[in-house]
């Protein structure tokens, strides 16, 4: 992710300069005179426009100037008037009349302001905001949460906008985000946020009125502003927790850049006004981006706001959208949710205990039986709902990748677009959190190693813009996430060569493709010739595999030279529940996670071998596998020490396979994983506990730890 603090301009934490329009810099009366002049000029323009020329843009600019100056001069009455007028201008109906009235009211307000004594500027730049932060922690906390939401939505809408410049809804949503941020910051007196948000708002206002076109540079600036706001919000949060924090980062360079966009990126105003449409449709052959940003891609600057998507049509859609989604959600503390899920688990167990109670079931009272089965149904429904509350769509995780790809491709000069599929696929919140890092690594990998530079792609007969795919779907109780690219593919020979150099393999002739590809997950393995700041240091893929394995998932690779690579991440839907085999050793019950189990059988005497001084081995499908006797490991008295009396479970963890000897199989059960706490964290062979159907605690076995330990012991 792009980080604001890396921007050279923002890194300097010099004392903030007062802006030129602050009351101390210019005498108050001079400002009022200036406002008066602006208003007069505006009035003149409106009058002149009766002839048919559209002056909406000019009026809007003047109005924002007026309210800005008025704020600086402490004229509290004027900004609301000005914004009211802006709205009137937007609405487009009989605006001349409204405007002239409004201008009269402005005049009056200015005259009143001239007579009043100057008041302290509300939300002024000079106020050290942090001193007041602790005033109301609740409001502040709400502000922090809300700001984060707004920033996230701003970012995703901006990225949509960059792909599809005509998307008016995205423009409005971004605008709304900044507008709300400005409002909140103004209320809580965070001038730095307010100022930046305000400037971006004016910029976006021009975009939505069609005066500015959307260019990558413009999106860059707006994204940067969003990043700035995010940093500042984080800073405020730290301050609220009582940490000593620096002053807000200097936003002058950012403001200058926003201003440059505001002024330097103007489109040629259209001369034709169609009917009552307030906003002139932009010309299709817009003037080239005048900021002459060399990075700006010509095809993107040419993307146009479509004429039909003008304001009057977009407005009803905007109001409809803004009211519905927020109101249908309730924010709940996650710990409460976890507690609920825990309790529901208990409920299910209690219900099943009643259900299996021998005395109760012997009562042949139809009413009782009916009530019992009703209880069972309801419990099941409650459990399902409680579990689904922890599920979130994977879309938000994918959205982060959109930004990542954008930044990566702009840095490296490659071209790639991200194709998202199955964003609505749901999975456990905790998995989403843990998946973020591996996914970022894999996408970086795809963008940096997989995708070739455009000229190479053209040579290979491919489209210069590469496709990086992110796809999620459910498959057999798991969620599968595919990360694919249509780049150069994995180079089998190169991987083998590197592996031989590093001594990872001796002979390579009999390795399957899959085995070879899996070598890239070895720590420190990289085939990149050049180390870039993106990837190539050989860390990353091993982190990916480790993280995925920690979540009880696996990674598979499919790759074709010249055609691309696809990574398949296969993960359980939730980390809270595990499906397991309940096995018995004497009176103890243990749970073996079902995903490690390959098969089960009772061994015959002939298939068991004991190598002198080595461990016991058993022949399974022509392969000798080591045997781990669970009772020996755990020091329990078994039913019988004769191996042919016990049940062998063939388990596979990572690349290792072994047989676990237990007394009996009790059954298959879904259990809620409970941690054993710090007390037992050093025990590597137990992954946790689970409450079994009879209310007792069963230990969930950690097969990897079990095997590794017995190998050493």
């Amino acid at each position: 992710m792009m980080n604001v603090t890396q921007e050279p301009g923002l890194q300097k934490r010099k004392t903030r300069k007062r802006t030129a329009d602050s009351p101390e810099a210019t005498p108050r009366n001079a400002i009022i005179t200036a406002i008066r002049q602006t208003v007069d000029q505006m009035a003149a323009e409106v009058l002149a426009s009766q002839g048919g020329e559209d002056v909406t843009a000019k009026v809007l600019a003047s109005l924002s100037e007026v309210s800005e100056q008025a704020r600086a001069a402490g004229l509290g009455e004027i900004p609301p008037l000005a914004s009211e007028l802006s709205e009137a201008v937007h609405s487009g109906e009989g605006k001349e009349g409204l405007l002239l009235q409004g201008i009269d009211r402005l005049h009056q307000a200015i005259d009143r302001g001239r007579q009043e004594a100057p008041k302290a500027e509300p939300g002024g730049q000079s106020q050290p905001a942090l001193a007041r932060i602790s005033a109301d922690p609740e409001i502040l906390a709400e502000f922090l949460v809300e700001s984060r939401d707004h920033l996230a939505s701003i970012e995703s809408h901006l990225l949509t906008l960059e792909r599809d410049a005509g998307n008016t809804e995205a423009i409005h949503a971004t605008f709304r985000g900044f507008h709300t941020m400005k409002g909140l910051a103004g209320f809580l007196e965070f001038p730095a946020i307010q100022k930046v948000a305000h400037e971006v708002e004016s910029l976006l206002d021009k975009v939505r009125s069609g005066q500015l076109s959307i260019t990558p540079t413009l999106v860059d600036v707006v994204l940067e502003s969003a990043d700035y706001l995010r940093t500042d919000v984080a800073r405020i949060e730290r301050a609220a927790q009582g940490e000593a924090v620096p002053k807000p980062a200097d936003n002058e360079p950012l403001l200058v850049r926003i201003q440059a966009q505001l002024t330097g990126n103007k489109k040629v105003p259209s001369e034709a006004v169609i009917g009552e449409t307030a906003i002139a449709p932009p010309k299709t052959d817009a003037a080239p981006n005048q900021t002459a940003e060399h990075e700006a891609k010509p095809e993107e600057t040419k993307k146009e706001i479509k004429p039909e998507e003008t304001r009057p049509e977009a407005k009803p859609e905007e109001t409809k959208k803004s009211s519905s989604p927020e109101s249908r959600f309730v924010k709940v503390d996650t710990s409460k949710l976890d507690f609920l899920v825990d309790m529901v688990g208990e409920l299910v167990i209690a219900q099943s205990m009643i259900h299996h109670d021998g005395q109760l079931s012997s009562i042949s009272n139809p009413k009782l039986q009916r009530n019992l089965s009703q209880l069972g149904r309801i419990t099941g429904e409650v459990q399902k709902t409680a579990m689904s509350m922890r599920m979130v769509p994977i879309g938000q995780l994918f959205q982060r990748s959109v930004r990542l790809i954008r930044d990566l491709t702009r840095k490296s000069g490659k071209k790639a677009e991200l194709v998202l599929t199955g964003e609505d696929t749901e999975l456990d919140r905790t998995i989403v959190e843990d998946l973020a890092d591996p996914l970022i690594h894999m996408i970086r990998n795809a963008a940096d190693h997989g995708v070739e530079p455009p000229h190479e792609r053209v040579q290979a007969g491919k489209h210069p813009v590469a496709k990086i795919g992110l796809k999620a779907y459910h498959q057999a109780g798991h969620i599968v996430i595919e990360v694919s690219d249509d780049g150069r593919g994995l180079n089998r020979e190169k991987i083998l060569e590197k592996a031989r150099q590093r001594g990872l393999i001796q002979d390579s002739h009999q390795l399957t493709d899959n085995e070879v590809f899996n070598l890239i997950f070895e720590p420190g393995f990289s085939t990149a010739e050049h180390v870039t700041d993106v990837s190539g240091r050989g860390v990353g893929m091993d982190v990916v595999r480790k993280q995925i394995q920690k979540m009880r998932g696996r990674v598979d690779i499919n790759s074709e030279p010249g055609k691309g690579t696809t990574f398949y991440l296969k993960l359980p839907l939730t980390l809270a529940i595990i499906e397991g085999l309940v096995v018995a050793v004497a009176k103890e019950r243990y749970i073996v996670p079902i995903y490690v189990v390959k098969e089960m059988f009772r061994p015959t005497p002939a298939s068991v071998f004991t190598v002198v001084n080595r461990r016991e081995m058993v022949l399974v499908r022509d392969k000798l596998l080591p045997v781990v006797r669970l009772y020996q490991r755990f020091g329990v008295e078994p039913r019988s020490t004769d191996i042919t009396q016990s049940l062998l479970i063939v388990a596979e963890c990572g690349s290792k396979r072994f047989c676990l000897a237990v007394d009996d199989l009790i059954g298959k059960q879904e259990v809620v994983i409970k941690t054993l706490g710090d007390t037992f964290k050093s025990i590597s062979s137990v992954a946790g506990g689970a409450i079994l159907g009879d209310g007792r605690v069963g230990l969930i076995l950690e097969m990897d730890g079990l095997f590794t330990e017995s190998a050493h012991g």
């Binding site: 825990d342 309790m343 688990g345 208990e346 103890e588 019950r589 490991r633 755990f634 020091g635 329990v636 409970k674 941690t675 054993l676 706490g677 710090d678 007390t679 037992f680 964290k681 050093s682 025990i683 062979s685 137990v686 946790g688 506990g689 409450i691 209310g695 007792r696 605690v697 069963g698 230990l699």
Partner: protein, 174 residues
């Protein structure tokens, strides 16, 4: 809690320390001896129930139990104190405690022979732990309470049952 109590002047030793130790204690029996633990740390007292053994733990760690959906460890105080382990009786019970260690709270059960009563112990009834000679460390003894001619041993349960202690013991055993 104890600030309102006027301390009589006949108590030798550190008054301030005695002050902080006064208060309500739950007393229980263990091999004919009476012990006391601060009542504020007691969450509940329950009869003996099925305990799931956890491998690779010291002998005095009996395992884990299901406390209304939470899995909590259970220690046998007899084994911990090096007393002979007798069979469980009808009076044997598990005291569930709130343990604080490294500013983190956790619940833990201890198995005792029988629970006696809750006593309000005044500062003048508490004496410092006697010097057992040598350098015998007694970090988990808060002091001794003399009540009606009998001595009750006051335990600092945080010192006894903390996870660090169990892990340390585990290392020695293995």
């Amino acid at each position: 809690m104890s600030t309102a109590i006027v301390v009589p002047d006949n108590v030798p030793g550190a008054l301030s320390q005695a002050d902080s130790r006064a208060g309500k204690y739950l007393t229980f029996q263990l091999d004919h001896e009476e012990f006391g633990i601060r009542v504020l740390q007691v969450r509940e007292i329950m009869g003996l129930q099925d305990i799931t053994m956890v491998p690779q733990t010291p002998l005095y760690v009996k395992g884990v139990i299901n406390l209304r959906g939470k899995v909590i460890p259970v220690l046998c105080l007899r084994a911990k104190f090096g007393l002979a382990e007798t069979g469980y009786t009808a009076r044997t019970c598990i005291i569930v405690l709130q343990i604080h260690q490294h500013a983190r709270a956790m619940q833990m059960g201890i198995i005792v022979d029988a629970v006696s009563e809750v006593l309000n112990i005044a500062p003048n009834e508490i004496e410092d732990t006697p010097d057992f000679g040598g350098s015998l460390p007694t970090p988990y003894l808060l002091g001794m309470a003399k009540i009606k001619g009998k001595v009750k041993i006051l335990l600092d349960i945080d010192q006894i049952a903390g996870p660090d202690d169990i892990q340390g013991a585990y290392c020695r055993v293995s």
